[in-house]
Symmetry: C2
Subunit: 379 residues, 2 copies
């Protein structure tokens, strides 16, 4: 087990109607907020009204930046940061899924920096300050509500990069499972694939951390039990609660303590598919992960079998991989690029983008030959 610091500064309010505490909670953060959200579904569901009522009742002025796009993109971040600077805001309220909250994270460090966010994402400049973030989550998936990670896409360079910094922890996160009730079946399933992939990334990371492994099993088993049940009954609040809470735990550090690092190879390849074909993040992972496991089957057979033993009570590597792929299929996630209509003539484009994005992984390093093999496996 490696040395580590166990600390997570996000204060997370979980459950029915927790947003009723929002106004009172955020009042000490200042007088003016930047309120960002996505394509406006929060207006139909009533979440917009609830949040603005809370802000008004707390006497907080706010400027809105609506229309944050999925697979968050730097144009949105830079424009929202510019607005926030101009309006001299004290904190950010982000209402939405991973894309909105990740955008808030970049805006939070881009505002004090003053230049283009890409400088920060590419480590050209190290951020030193941030603006507090208040997250109101409407999609159970990425875990961004309680971690220091974010991703952002640059459509010019065709890169989608992950970024981590302790400045990115939200100050407060409000998780009301009622807000996820209207998430459609496919995106509910993609969220489940995403959270399971996060666990895999931790499990196949570097360093032995026995209890963290057990937390991985706990989280995946919970998702595999609650997931299919929820997909059969999308309006069940208890099932929505279960999936929402488990998604947070899949990437709030719990599975990582005691390891040197996770292995983000498969995740980065998923980003390549998103940047090229606008594949939803979770769907990109249900496509890549089975292929990644097949690539590794002769390299780390014991480790894959350990996973299979604990998740599926199977002992053979191939059974573990088959069970994993079968689960993604059961919940309606694609497991091949062809399932979502991408033609094999894209292989070279995918390969080149993988090379440009250096999707090498941290622990189990991927070579260019591996890239080709992976593409063949998931095509």
């Amino acid at each position: 087990m490696e040395n580590f610091t166990l600390y997570n500064p996000t204060k997370l309010f979980f459950g029915k109607d927790v947003a009723e505490k929002l106004g009172k909670t955020v009042r000490p953060l200042g007088k003016k907020a930047l309120f960002i959200y996505g394509e406006g579904s929060i207006k139909k569901t009533g979440i917009y009204d609830q949040v603005t009522r809370q802000l008004n009742s707390a006497g907080i002025d706010f400027v809105e930046y609506p229309g944050i796009r999925p697979n968050p993109i730097i144009e949105d971040v830079d424009a929202a940061a510019e607005l926030g600077r101009k309006e001299n805001i004290d904190f950010i309220i982000a209402v939405g899924g991973g894309s909105v909250i990740d955008s808030a994270k970049f805006i939070s460090i881009a505002i004090p920096y003053g230049g283009p966010v890409w400088d920060l994402v590419t480590d050209k400049v190290k951020p030193t300050r941030n603006i507090p973030i208040v997250a109101v989550l409407t999609l159970a998936a990425t875990g961004t509500e309680m971690n220091r990670f974010a991703v952002v896409q640059n459509n010019i360079t065709r890169e989608k990069l992950g970024y981590g910094n302790p400045l990115l922890y939200p100050r407060y996160s409000f998780l009301d499972p009622q807000y996820t009730i209207t998430v459609p079946k496919n995106y509910t399933a993609y969220g489940i694939a995403d959270l399971i992939a996060h666990c895999f990334e931790a499990f196949f990371g570097k360093g032995k951390a026995s209890l963290s492994d057990r937390f991985v099993y706990a989280i995946i088993k919970e998702a595999m039990e609650y997931g299919p049940a929820l997909l059969n009954d999308l309006r069940d609040l208890e099932l929505r609660s279960g999936i929402m809470y488990v998604a947070t735990n899949a990437l709030n550090n719990l599975t990582l303590y005691g390891r040197v690092s996770g292995d983000w190879g498969a995740h980065s390849i998923g980003h390549v598919l998103s940047v090229l074909y606008n594949v939803p993040h979770g769907a990109s992972l249900s496509i890549v992960y089975p292929a990644w496991l097949k690539l590794q089957r002769n390299r780390i057979p014991e480790r894959i079998a350990e996973l299979g033993q604990n998740l599926f009570n199977v002992t053979r590597v191939d059974e573990t991989i088959a069970e994993t792929e079968a689960f993604f299929t059961v919940i309606g996630c694609p497991s091949r690029l062809s399932d979502i209509g991408i033609s094999p003539n894209q292989k070279q484009t995918i390969f080149r983008t993988m090379v440009d994005n250096e999707v090498n992984g941290n622990n189990h390093k991927l070579s260019h030959d591996d890239y080709r093999e992976l593409i063949d496996l998931f095509m």
Copy 2:
């Protein structure tokens, strides 16, 4: 699942030589510390020297209150608080196991209060302020290093009471498994019994919380795997690390989120045995818990069987109880009061003290008839 707030303000440094960060970390807390510890074994092991070196290098003045007694007692707390007030200290450094750190927690709220700590423990007075606590842990057991709970004993009233308040979270905790290497076999085992009991208390608490149940299984299975291995090789640092980390997780809220409450009935009965016969806390729990399970066998058979299924892969209630008791025996913990030389003629004394301490439990309420049955079961 119940609504909850997920937040733990303790920053925990885990691993080899983490105390080397102590001076730098605590410097912002002030110029003068109250340094409390137990019977002085930290002088033999070199921990005392390391901590004082850190304080000196950070330019921090300190007054010492040594000799904190096990099963922390109010006389020590009141006397140390008096010293802290007189010396106008800025923060407390507690080096030791649960008793020392729990004492620090009470001192932390007793200093600003100014009166006897028993007023706070018995809820006569509500604390409003605290002095920051820095914990350096030397025993893996209670989890106090990362929670808001503490216990203290009043030898006059023969009460040992648990107390919880968010003011009690340590600000920083330093967990170096090397510091636990010299813990003798019996106290190592008692620590393991204690952490498993904490998981039971959560598991048998009120409210359905599926993921928290899975974390319970993860933690107990880790303890049941690492525990016996460690007891065979007390100097193995990796095993010491595993047990130290799992003990923290057994009572740092992780197993409680989503529940209404834990059930502290068996724990409170353990306190009665400690206050009467000075039984080490963990040993009191290995005595009480199998009896508590037997008492509940016909009342909550499904719940006990669920535990057995997940821990031991057994399906029957009696097998679950037998496996639990067998584990305590394997690690050398007593499972009957007679094992530690307490005579059956003490039954009435124990009963009366249980009545006085109102050891009723939170979820599965215990009647006076239950007290008698329990005493017969663990005698």
